[in-house]
């Protein structure tokens, strides 16, 4: 991964795959939560806890944490963290494709603004070169 042009901590190589998996797992947390909600509709806490999709949600959270640790082994947080903003765009796509939710132009614009805002929040000023 480290060519002569690259710097330690830049996003490259296996970290990209791990980061993609972390973002995918984070988006699946919401998908599984929605499936758990559909499966426990009208029920309370017990119905939610007994729904297998709820445990799939927790599993996706655990998997996301695992992939995130892999990412941070090779990549600076300041480089990797802003890409997590993509979760919001990905979940809008899931909502439309898997659950038939309508996506309006305002949803697309709002989602775009949120992604930019989260990316700004997650980006820290780059450290000065030594």
């Amino acid at each position: 991964m480290t060519g002569p042009e690259s710097r330690p901590g830049d996003l490259a190589g296996a970290a990209i795959g791990a980061l993609a998996m972390a973002v995918l797992c984070r988006s699946l947390v919401f998908v599984f939560a929605k499936l758990a909600a559909l499966g426990s509709e009208g029920g309370g806490l017990v119905a939610i806890l007994w729904n297998p999709w709820y445990w799939a949600e927790l599993g996706a959270l655990a998997a996301q944490s695992g992939f995130w640790i892999l990412v941070l082994r090779t990549t600076r947080l300041a480089v990797a963290y802003p890409t997590t903003a993509l979760v919001y765009a990905l979940n809008l796509a899931w909502a439309w494709a898997l659950f038939g939710e309508s996506v309006t132009p305002a949803n697309l614009v709002g989602c775009g603004i949120i992604v930019v805002g989260v990316a700004i929040a997650a980006t820290r000023a780059r450290e000065p070169s030594p």
């Binding site: 929605k34 806490l45 709820y54 909502a95 614009v109 603004i113 805002g117 700004i120 929040a121």
Partner: protein
Amino acid sequence: MSGSLVHWAALFASVLLAVASQLVLRVGARRRRGSVNVVTAAGLALFGAVTVLMVYALQAIDLKSAIAVSSLTYVGTPLAERVLLGEHLARRTLVACHVILAGVLVFLYGG
């Protein structure tokens, strides 16, 4: 927008609890290692409550709307850190909070 008032209240409560869990986990991370860290356990328990509240909210609220509202944790966490932990609030973070808030409003009320 879909969903009853109770489900929307659950959704916003999940955001508040997510912010609270972030703060508690941060406080727990500062504690000494080697002992049972009750604070960290409390933070994880709060996060567990967030997952249940989110499922409850999604019983009546669209996935797309819930996701948009959940982004408010990026607004609430730095503000709570500033107010409760006295941490510095960078100008970049303040800008991000306004952008996210604008995005959520456009998403929910933009038509």
